[in-house]
């Protein structure tokens, strides 16, 4: 079953880059902080600076840019819908065209672009995180960061296993979708090409068998995990414990610094409100 090579979402790409070597905890914290800052950004220069930061991150990962853009393809409908939504429903004074109660305004279009831009600024570094971090290491990073919560009886270990399994099964489930679609087409179903919504409706009947097979897989997987004596996930040994090195700390400081610079640019050097 070597057919899922085309699957790129959330996939780890083996490369030798500084970003690959960086401790997962630093990467996770860095990403979270960056995302929060993106939410706070308010000016065009802030967005531009953030875009530069994202580009630097992508380049540092030594993963071809094409990989990231192909990863965005499945999101394209969402991005387009967002843009359309704001174009049509957005409020504004500068009316370009209107059909009955629908108005297309410059402000609406700008708002749409701004939101799509924001989504991209958040998704791209996130896929840089999954692209440069092995799922198990990523989960380990999450687990150590969330460790304090286990005092509150939050099953942190199980959560981290859940993350690993989710990433592990993305290709499997996409393959399953492909096969069910193929099964329907093999029996004469042909989605119409022109109507973008027919592609969407094609997925609805697929959901039922997909849910069934995923449930079956989940059952089997639970058994496999139990059969290997997982228990409740506590008190396991850790084969490769995470250790912060000096370069991890330096990288962390650099990240903090660049985030601070971003905020400064946004607040003080802003001339155009976005």
């Amino acid at each position: 079953m070597n057919t899922s090579n085309a699957v790129l979402v959330g996939q780890f790409i083996e490369r030798d880059s500084a970003l690959h070597r960086l401790d997962p905890r630093i990467k996770i914290i860095g990403l979270l902080m960056f995302m929060i800052v993106i939410m706070m950004l308010d000016s065009r220069s802030g967005y531009t600076a953030a875009t530069v930061v994202v580009l630097i991150i992508l380049l540092l990962s030594k993963i071809p840019l094409g990989f990231y853009f192909r990863g965005l393809l499945p999101l394209l409908p969402v991005l387009i819908l967002t843009l359309l939504y704001h174009t049509i429903w957005g409020k504004g004074q500068t009316i370009l065209a209107s059909y009955g109660f629908l108005q297309i305004t410059v402000e609406g279009i700008l708002e749409g672009i701004r939101i799509v831009w924001r989504i991209l600024l958040m998704i791209l570094p996130a896929s840089a995180l999954t692209g440069t971090t092995q799922p198990l290491i990523l989960a380990q990073g999450l687990e150590t960061l969330l460790k304090p919560l286990s005092k509150l009886r939050v099953p942190v270990e199980q959560f981290s296993l859940m993350v690993v399994i989710a990433i592990r099964f993305i290709p499997t489930i996409l393959e399953e979708i492909r096969r069910i679609r193929l099964a329907r087409r093999a029996r004469g179903f042909e989605p119409s090409n022109r109507n973008p919504f027919s592609r969407l409706t094609e997925f609805i009947p697929i959901l039922v068998p997909l849910l069934v097979s995923t449930t079956r897989r989940a059952d089997n997987l639970t058994l496999a995990i139990e059969a290997r004596a997982y228990g409740d996930g506590r008190h396991r040994t850790i084969f490769r414990p995470l250790r912060l090195t000096k370069s991890d700390l330096i990288a962390g400081c650099l990240m903090l610094l660049s985030i601070a610079i971003l905020l400064v640019i946004d607040f003080y050097l802003s001339n155009t409100h976005i």
Partner: protein, 266 residues
């Protein structure tokens, strides 16, 4: 030693999938559990290492009772289980992590894990695939990774639950070879199968029909005495031709060797 005493199991009351099954498997045995589709044999596998708990009767392995949660954990450490679907038992994202997972669970010290991973990869011949992701492996290779993950935990007993049924002939032969290797090393092997030629490799057959144990004995007697068709089964080639050509002695998997020696005896 694994003892099933009057074990019963049902998902819904009144619809038993295992009925009053009793047997004892001694250390070092090689046992086949057979039966048609839906005869209850896979449930039996899960009852063996406490993945499902008997609703009636008891399952005891080396003085540990499966119905006690703490003891069930000990049983799981000692009894490895390889499932049917190679895709659905690959938990992590590469072969090494897959082996490490079980070792971390049973608290093998970190410095010992690397060595155990290496020898497990070697045992199943996957040294070159240590870092391979599941979608880069064939079904047979995935199944061998699952075996490596089990064998690294140093079980005394391994259950193969229709582990060969989704593999091509090559993968199947490799897995059968592994079972025999492990058996020679003193590990107790239980295989659940409906490939009758695999049954010949074992020393004892348990036949399940409509949730009940209806036969317990050596393969030779099994193929001679049991009306296989009524249970959805058939004789393996080696047995069939032995009977048709009037060969004497016991049927074995190596029918070629047997043919050569039978030809020259009158």
């Amino acid at each position: 030693m694994l003892v099933f005493d009057q074990v019963g199991y049902y998902y819904r009351r009144g619809q038993e999938v295992v009925k009053k099954v009793s047997f004892t498997i001694e250390k070092g045995e090689f046992v086949s559990i057979v039966g048609g589709n839906g005869s209850g044999k896979s449930t039996l596998a899960k009852l063996m290492n406490g993945l499902q708990l008997a609703k009636q009767g008891s399952v005891v392995f080396d003085k540990q009772t499966a119905s006690d949660p703490d003891q069930a954990r000990n049983i799981r450490k000692a009894i490895g289980l390889v499932f049917q679907n190679p895709e659905d038992q690959f938990i992590t994202t590469n072969v090494t992590d897959e082996i490490v997972f079980g070792l971390e669970n049973i608290r093998v010290p970190a410095d010992e894990i690397a060595a155990r991973v290496r020898s497990a990869l070697q045992a199943v011949g996957l040294e070159r695939y240590a870092d391979a992701a599941p979608h880069e492996l064939s079904g047979g290779q995935k199944q061998r990774a699952a075996v490596a993950a089990v064998i690294a935990m140093r079980p005394r007993f391994i259950v193969f639950d229709e582990a060969t049924s989704m593999l091509d002939p090559e993968g199947r032969n490799e897995l059968m070879q592994l079972m025999q290797d492990f058996h020679k090393q003193g590990i107790t092997i239980v295989q659940i199968t409906h490939h009758m030629d695999e049954v010949l490799a074992s020393r004892r057959v348990l036949l399940l029909d409509q949730s009940e144990l209806v036969f317990d004995g050596p393969p030779d007697r099994f193929f001679r005495e049991v009306p296989l068709e009524t249970y959805g089964l058939e004789q393996p080639f080696a047995v069939r031709i032995g009977q048709q050509l009037g060969w004497s002695g016991e049927a074995t998997a190596d029918w070629k060797g047997r043919a050569a020696s039978q030809w020259s005896t009158e």
